[in-house]
C-alpha cells in the first residue's frame, strides 16, 4: 500500500535485537513494580499494630486470601466469563506482540494488508498509524505489548468494583484504538466484508466486551443486559448471513472460470502460509471441499448464521442454549478453517475475531440465564476495597502516609495486582507518548541499514572551495563550530537529494544549536561542477534559504584533492548511468578534528528513513557539541 513502506525488513537483526533488549529491560521494571507492591503490602499487613479487616479478605491463609481477592463470589457469571476471557485474550495478544518481527513488521505485515481493500480515507488513517509506529518501532512495539499485558492482568486481577470497571474502560479504549488504526475498522468498509474473514474485527469485540464491563454492577443483575447483548449479536449474525448469501460476491461458487471462488481463495491463501504441516493439510483439505462443494458449504454457513441470529433475537430460553452452542462451534470451526487460528498465517497481533465473538455469545447467554440476586450493600462498597472515608476529609490526608498504610492494609491481593497492572500499562503508555511527542524517527532505523557511526579522532584535512554564493569557504574558517560534512553529486537522481534533505532536516532538529553547527557538502561530480548546478540543486532541495548550508565546488583538480584526502570515491560510469560514488558523512568537532564517520547510504528514502538519518546526524552533532 502506497505510503506504508517504512523501508525496513521485519527480521532486521538490529531492530530485533533492540526490541528484545527493550522488552527485557521493561520486563525487569514490570517485575520490580510487582515486587515493590508485594513487599509494601506484605510488610504493612505484617505489622502487629496494623488494622485487621474482617471478612473473606481478613486473616487467614495467604492462598485463601489471594483466591478470595481474585474470585469474588458475587460476580455475575456472564461478567466473569467476559472479564476472564478477554483478560486472557489481551495477554495472548501481548505474547503475539513479542514476536521478533513485530517491531519492524507490524506496519507492512499487519496494518497495510488490513487496509489495502478499504476506501482511501481508511487507508490514510492506516498510513498515519503505520508511520506513527514506524517512526519509533522499538518504543511503540514494546509499549503496545505492555499496554495489552497490563489490560489483561488488570481484567484478571479486578473482579469487581470501580477498579474492574476501569479495567473495562481500558479494554474499551485500547480495543477501539486497535480496531481503528490497526485493523482498519475490521475491514467493514472494504467490499469483501465477510464474517468468515473476521468481520467486524477483533478490536471492536474487545471494545464491546470492555464497554460491558464498564457497566455498573446492577446492570448485570437483570436479564435485560443478556437479552440486549444476544439481540445485538443476533442482528449482526443475520446481517452477516445476508452478506454471505448476497449474489455476485463469489461465496456461492467453489470455483469460477477456473479460479477458486471467494471462500476457496481465502482458504487456499491461508493454507499457503508458513504453519504446522497438520494444520496446512487440514486447510488444504477444507479448501478442496469448498472448491468442490462451494454452494453447499456457503449454504450451511448462511443457514447457521441466520438461525443462530434469529434465536438470539427472539431470546427464547429453550432455543437460546442450543443456538449459543451452535454459534460457538461455528466460531471455533471458522477460527481454525478460515482464520488460521488468527495468528498462524504470518505475522499477526491477535488470535482473530472468532474466539472473542464466541465469548461474547457465551457471556450474553450467562447474563440472560444465570442472573444473580441483587447485592445492595456489597455493590456499593465492594469487599476488600478501601472503604470510603468520611465526607469532608481533605485530600492531603487521604494521600498521607497513614492513609496509604490504611489502604494497603485493607487492600486485597486483587487490588495490589490491579495496581501492578496499571503500572505495567503506564510502563507502555508513557514511553509511547514520549516517542509520539518526538518529531524525528528513531535512529535505530538508520543504524539498522548502515550500522552505527565509527568513532574517529584525527585532524580533518583542510580545504578551501567556493560556496553556492561564489564565496570562498575553508574548513579552518569554520573552526569553533561543529561541521557536518558530506559529498554530493548535484545532478544525482537518487541518493544525493535524499542526503541533502536529511542534512536540512538535521539542521531543523538541532533547533537553537544549529547556530553552532555548519552543514557542508562538497561537490562530487567532476563534469557538473559549475556554480549553476550547485544553485539549481540547492533550489530543488529547498536548501537555498538554509543559512548554515554550504555546497562547495571548485575546479576538477582541487575537488579531486579533497576527495582523496577524505577517501571518497567518484566514478563516471558509461551508458547513461549516474555518477558512481560513496555515500558518507563526517562529523568535525570545534577543534577541526574528525570525530565520527557515518555510512550515509540513504536507503529507500521513505519519510521514516529520511527522518531517522536526520535524527542520527542531529544526535551526532549534539553529542559533539556537548563533549566540547
Amino acid at each position: 500500500m502506497s505510503g506504508m513502506n517504512n523501508g525496513l525488513n521485519p527480521d532486521d537483526p538490529t531492530v530485533v535485537a533492540a526490541f528484545r533488549a527493550a522488552l527485557l529491560h521493561q520486563g525487569v521494571i514490570a517485575l520490580l513494580i510487582f515486587a515493590v507492591l508485594s513487599v509494601a503490602w506484605v510488610s504493612v499487613r505484617a505489622q502487629p499494630d496494623g488494622p485487621r479487616p474482617e471478612g473473606p479478605n481478613g486473616p487467614g491463609r495467604p492462598l485463601a486470601r489471594i483466591r478470595a481477592g481474585l474470585w469474588a463470589y458475587g460476580e455475575p457469571a456472564g461478567r466473569q466469563v467476559l472479564r476472564i476471557g478477554f483478560g486472557v485474550l489481551w495477554l495472548a495478544d501481548a505474547v503475539l506482540l513479542a514476536q521478533p518481527g513485530m517491531a519492524a513488521g507490524l506496519p507492512s505485515q499487519v496494518i497495510a494488508p488490513s487496509a489495502v481493500t478499504s476506501p482511501a480515507w481508511v487507508q490514510h488513517l492506516a498510513v498515519w498509524a503505520g508511520n506513527a509506529w514506524s517512526y519509533h518501532p522499538v518504543e511503540v512495539g514494546s509499549a503496545a505489548l505492555w499496554i495489552e499485558a497490563g489490560i489483561g492482568l488488570w481484567l484478571l486481577a479486578a473482579p469487581r468494583g470501580t477498579s474492574s470497571r476501569l479495567a473495562g474502560l481500558a479494554s474499551l479504549t485500547w480495543g477501539l484504538v486497535v480496531w481503528v488504526f490497526g485493523e482498519s475498522f475490521g475491514q467493514i468498509f472494504a467490499p469483501g466484508l465477510s464474517w468468515l474473514s473476521g468481520a467486524p474485527g477483533a478490536g471492536l469485540l474487545y471494545a464491546v466486551a470492555g464497554a460491558l464491563l464498564v457497566l455498573p454492577d446492577r446492570t448485570w443483575r437483570t436479564p435485560r443486559l443478556g437479552r440486549a447483548l444476544l439481540g445485538g449479536l443476533g442482528v449482526f449474525g443475520i446481517g452477516m448471513a445476508v452478506l454471505q448469501a448476497w449474489p455476485g460476491r463469489g461465496f456461492w461458487q467453489g470455483k469460477s472460470a477456473g479460479q477458486p471462488g471467494t471462500l476457496a481463495g481465502l482458504v487456499q491463501s491461508l493454507a499457503g502460509t508458513p504453519q504446522p504441516q497438520a494444520l496446512s493439510a487440514l486447510l488444504s483439505g477444507f479448501g478442496s471441499v469448498v472448491r468442490a462443494h462451494g454452494f453447499a458449504v456457503n449454504l450451511v454457513v448462511v443457514i447457521a448464521l441466520a438461525a443462530a441470529g434469529l434465536a438470539f433475537i427472539t431470546a427464547r430460553r429453550r432455543a437460546i442454549g442450543p443456538a449459543v452452542a451452535v454459534f460457538a462451534v461455528l466460531c471455533l470451526l471458522a477460527w481454525v478453517l478460515t482464520e488460521d487460528m488468527g495468528f498462524l498465517g504470518g505475522l499477526r497481533a491477535d488470535p482473530g475475531s472468532m474466539i472473542p465473538m464466541a465469548l461474547l455469545a457465551v457471556g450474553g447467554y450467562l447474563a440472560l440465564t444465570r442472573v444473580p440476586a441483587a447485592e445492595a450493600a456489597t455493590s456499593a462498597a465492594p469487599a476488600g476495597e478501601a472503604p470510603a472515608d468520611a465526607a469532608g476529609e481533605r485530600w492531603r490526608e487521604r494521600l498521607g502516609p497513614a492513609a496509604v498504610r490504611r489502604s494497603l492494609t485493607a487492600a486485597t491481593f486483587g487490588t495490589m495486582a490491579s495496581l501492578g497492572a496499571v503500572g505495567v500499562i503506564l510502563l507502555g503508555a508513557v514511553p509511547m507518548a514520549a516517542a509520539q511527542a518526538t518529531p524525528a524517527a528513531s535512529v535505530i532505523l538508520a543504524q539498522s541499514m548502515n550500522g552505527a557511526p565509527n568513532a574517529m579522532d584525527a585532524p580533518a584535512p583542510g580545504f578551501t572551495l567556493t560556496d553556492q554564493h561564489g564565496q570562498p569557504v575553508s574548513l579552518s574558517g569554520l573552526r569553533g563550530k561543529v561541521v557536518l560534512l558530506t559529498f554530493l553529486d548535484p545532478v544525482c537522481v537518487t541518493d544525493c537529494p535524499l542526503i541533502a534533505q536529511e542534512f536540512r532536516e538535521a539542521g531543523r532538529l538541532l533547533g537553537a544549536d544549529s547556530r553552532r553547527v555548519e552543514l557542508v557538502a562538497v561537490n562530487l561530480n567532476p563534469i557538473y561542477s559549475q556554480l549553476g548546478y550547485i544553485r539549481a540543486f540547492d533550489h530543488a532541495e529547498g536548501l537555498d534559504t538554509v543559512p548554515n548550508w554550504h555546497f562547495l565546488t571548485s575546479d576538477q583538480a582541487r575537488l579531486r584533492q579533497v576527495w582523496r584526502a577524505y577517501g571518497v570515491a567518484s566514478q563516471v560510469l558509461r551508458a547513461g548511468a549516474m555518477l558512481g560514488h560513496s555515500d558518507v558523512a563526517f562529523v568535525v568537532d570545534q577543534r577541526g578534528h574528525l570525530v565520527q564517520e557515518l555510512n550515509f547510504d540513504p536507503g529507500p528514502g521513505t519519510p521514516v528513513t529520511k527522518s531517522s538519518f536526520a535524527a542520527e546526524l542531529a544526535d551526532a552533532a549534539a553529542q559533539t557539541l556537548r563533549s566540547a
Partner: protein, 388 residues
C-alpha cells in the same frame, strides 16, 4: 406489551442492518465520462544528421522506469558503424534532447527524472569523445524539439511549464524569452488561438522559431521573433486541410532551411505534411500523406531537409526534401524502440533497441529491404538509478 414493542424495535433494527450491510457488498454503477481524445505523444527517440554525421538517441534497458536509460549513438560516415557516445556523469533516465549537429558538435539536454528536478545541459565538440557542462536548464519539456542551438552558440529551450527559455551564449544562464500566455496575448497568438507549444528552433538567420498547436483550424502554429514581436510564420495549408486542426509535431533546421512536420486532422482522417522554407522564407509543402488510422511514433531529420517517420504498426515513411514524394519503407524490423536515420541523401538506417542490445539495419537493394549491419551490446548499469 413492552416486550412486543422491544421485539418490533429489534426487528426494525435488524432489517436496517441487513439493508445497510447488503449495500456494503455492492458498488453503485456510474456512467464513465469519456475524456476527449488526446494526441499520441511523439517519442523522444530521434536522429539528426548533418554533413555525413548522424546522431541518434533511443531508450534502452527496461521499457520504462529507473532501469530505462537513454543512449546516444553517432555514425561518422554513411555506411559506417554506430558508436555509443552517451554523455557521462549524469543519469539519462529522463531522456535526451539534442540540438545543433555539426560535424563534431552536439548539444544535449537531459530531461528531469526521479529526484533530479532540473535539466543538465552538456556539449561535445569532438564528436562525443568528451563532454563539458553548460548552465542547467529548469527542465526540458517532453518533446524531441525542446532544445535548439544557433550557429553563434545561442540556445533556446522549451520548458516543462511551456515557458521558452533562452541563453545568450553557451556559458550564459537561461532567461525566459516568452510564455504561452504572453505569446497567446500577442496579435499572432490571438490570430492562432494558441493552444500549446511543441517545439523550438532557430531560422538559418538565427531568429528564434516556436511551434505548437493553434485552436483555429487550418492554421499552423509557427511563430518567429522579429523586431521584438512574434509573428505567425507558418505555411498556408491546402484548401482541403483548411477545416482541420493542425499540430506541428517537429520543427528543425537542416541544410540551411527550416523543416516542419505537421499533422492535420485527428483519428482516422489524420494526415502528415512536411514543409520546408526556401531562400525567400516561403514554404514548400510536401504531398499530404494519409495516416489511415496510424500515428507518428518517432520522427528523424536528415540532410537536405529529409524527414523519416516511424509509424505505429511497424511501418515507416520518408520524404527526401522539397519537391520529393513520400516513400513507404518495407516493414520495420521489430524492437522495443525503433528510430530511423538519414545520414546522407538516399541512405536510410534503422536502429532497433531491445534491452541492452542495439541492432543497426540499413535499407539496401531493389526492391528495398532491411539488412542487418551491426549489433552493439550496451553496458547498461541496471539498478544504478534505483536507489540503495
Amino acid at each position: 406489551m413492552r416486550r412486543a414493542r422491544a421485539a418490533k424495535t429489534r426487528a426494525a433494527a435488524g432489517l436496517a442492518l441487513v439493508v445497510l450491510t447488503a449495500g456494503c457488498g455492492s458498488s453503485a454503477e456510474r456512467p464513465a465520462a469519456t475524456p476527449p481524445p488526446k494526441p499520441t505523444p511523439l517519442s523522444l527517440a530521434t536522429s539528426l544528421a548533418s554533413a555525413g554525421t548522424a546522431w541518434a538517441t533511443i531508450p534502452m534497458g527496461a521499457p520504462s522506469g529507473p532501469n530505462q536509460f537513454w543512449q546516444l549513438f553517432r555514425l561518422t560516415s554513411p555506411g559506417g558503424r554506430w558508436a555509443l557516445k552517451t554523455p557521462g556523469g549524469v543519469a539519462t533516465n529522463g531522456a535526451l534532447v539534442l540540438a545543433g549537429p555539426g560535424k563534431q558538435t552536439l548539444t544535449a539536454g537531459i530531461r528531469p527524472s526521479l529526484d533530479l528536478g532540473f535539466s543538465p545541459v552538456t556539449v561535445t565538440r569532438d564528436g562525443g569523445g568528451s563532454w563539458s557542462s553548460l548552465p542547467p536548464e529548469p527542465g526540458f519539456a517532453d518533446v524531441p524539439d525542446a532544445l535548439a542551438a544557433a550557429a553563434d552558440g545561442r540556445l533556446i529551450a522549451l520548458g516543462q511549464d511551456q515557458a521558452v527559455q533562452a541563453a545568450a551564449s553557451q556559458r550564459a544562464s537561461w532567461t525566459t524569452l516568452t510564455t504561452p500566455k504572453a505569446l497567446a496575448a500577442t496579435a499572432a497568438g490571438r490570430r492562432c488561438a494558441l493552444a500549446g507549444l511543441t517545439a523550438v528552433a532557430y531560422t538559418p538567420a538565427g531568429a528564434p522559431l516556436l511551434a505548437g498547436t493553434c485552436g483555429r483550424a487550418g492554421t499552423a502554429a509557427i511563430f518567429t521573433h522579429q523586431g521584438r514581436t512574434w509573428r505567425l510564420a507558418g505555411p498556408a495549408l491546402p484548401t482541403a486541410l483548411s477545416g482541420q486542426p493542425v499540430r506541428v509535431i517537429r520543427l528543425s533546421q537542416a541544410g540551411g532551411r527550416d523543416v516542419a512536420l505537421l499533422q492535420a486532422g485527428t483519428g482516422a482522417s489524420a494526415s502528415l505534411l512536411a514543409a520546408w522554407t526556401g531562400d525567400s522564407r516561403a514554404w514548400t509543402l510536401s504531398p499530404v500523406f494519409p495516416l489511415s488510422g496510424a500515428h507518428a511514433v518517432s520522427v528523424s531529420s536528415g540532410p537536405g531537409g529529409a524527414v523519416a517517420v516511424v509509424l505505429s504498426g511497424g511501418r515507416g515513411v520518408t520524404v527526401d526534401g522539397p519537391g520529393a514524394a513520400w516513400r513507404r519503407l518495407p516493414p520495420l524490423p521489430p524492437g522495443q524502440a525503433v528510430v530511423l536515420a538519414v545520414p546522407a541523401p538516399g541512405t536510410t538506417d534503422l536502429l532497433a533497441a531491445a534491452g541492452s542490445m542495439l541492432t543497426a539495419w540499413q535499407l539496401t537493394g531493389q526492391p528495398a529491404r532491411w539488412t542487418k549491419t551491426q549489433t552493439v551490446k550496451v553496458p547498461i548499469q541496471y539498478g544504478s538509478s534505483s536507489g540503495s
